[in-house]
């Protein structure tokens, strides 16, 4: 019930007005510090050399790419089941952010792969499932772009996001399930030296906060967009001076829930 209260657009706008810039600025400061530390102060790795410094951007982007997809699928599920409009907005707003982090993960990983493996790309289970994740994001965004009816687009995009969830455990556990060229899990293990682990975790926290701030801003943009379109429709109807045109015909600016489908 508490979660539903936060799904009210007016409450969300009030909360995100201060939370989004706070998350973004804090995250940006942490990210820049962690990258500077990792690049100029941290040691090079014994076997990989200096190319290991790429991990401070690659690993946080990889973790964020699938965590944001998971968040998108959960928001889609809430939008589909409880028909909360802010949940649909949240799912739609996170897609470009998740897609960007996936692209950063793939390109930075590729640039790490060449000096380490001798190839920019291999059809490894981890790499391939991450590439599929990027295509899922593109598919999700395409649905919203290509379908004019937003109710229908939200439903179809939600179904794609929920089906796409299958890919998340494949990305995470692929290095354990199959014999992959990509290295195994090392992020939350004791094998990771603090000289690498500390800037890496700070970078993860920083980029996570940057992503959260951008997500909140993008949800705000989506709410304002819907308010504008509803308002313009109402104005057009009112200025049409058709018989019976009254103020009550105007579409409400803030709606807690979508109208049930006719």
């Amino acid at each position: 019930m508490r979660m539903m209260q936060f799904a009210n657009p007016a409450r969300f706008l009030a909360l995100s007005a201060w939370l989004a810039p706070l998350c973004f600025l804090l995250g940006l400061g942490l990210t820049v510090s962690a990258w500077a530390w990792g690049l100029f102060r941290g040691p090079s790795e014994a076997y990989q050399g200096d190319s290991a410094r790429i991990l401070y951007i690659h690993v946080p982007s990889a973790v964020l790419s699938y965590m944001l997809f998971f968040a998108m699928a959960v928001a889609s599920m809430i939008g589909l089941v409880w028909r909360h409009i802010v949940a649909d907005f949240a799912a739609k707003a996170v897609a470009p952010i998740g897609a960007s982090f996936t692209a950063i993960c793939l390109v930075s990983g590729s640039l790490w792969g060449y000096p380490t493996w001798g190839a920019f790309w291999v059809w490894d289970a981890r790499l391939t499932s991450e590439l599929i994740l990027l295509f899922l994001y593109f598919g999700y965004l395409s649905i919203w772009t290509l379908i004019d009816d937003e109710e229908k687009a939200a439903r179809l995009a939600a179904i794609l996001a929920i089906i796409g969830l299958i890919n998340i455990p494949i990305i995470v556990f692929s290095v354990q399930w199959w014999d992959t060229l990509h290295q195994g899990r090392s992020l939350f293990t004791r094998n990771l030296s603090p000289a690498f682990g500390i800037p890496l975790r700070i970078s993860m926290l920083g980029l996570g906060l940057v992503g959260l701030g951008l997500w909140l801003w993008n949800i705000r943009a989506e709410i304002f967009r819907r308010q504008t379109l509803n308002g313009e429709r109402a104005l057009a109807a009112a200025s049409g001076e058709k018989k019976g045109s009254t103020l009550t015909e105007m579409v409400p600016v803030h709606t807690d829930q979508r109208k049930p489908p006719s």
């Binding site: 640039l111 993008n218 943009a221 308002g231």
Partner: protein, 81 residues
Amino acid sequence: MISAFLDSLSAAWPSFANWGRHTPFVLGAYAFGAGLLIALILFVVLRLQYWEQRARLVAKKRAELAARLTDRAAETGANPQ
């Protein structure tokens, strides 16, 4: 050939960011990441500003219209609702 090109690129790079033959890869990864992140930030912030301004403008127009309809209703004695 690629190796010679990368070595020459590394040698030319200033010493504050010299990671041997890995320099172009490290710089490339961070340049791409930071570039895409900046593009994403600009996209989100400009999109937010654009829709926020349009929403304000529409809200203002709707308030003006509502006031006009209320005035007209008061003049004619009709209920605007």
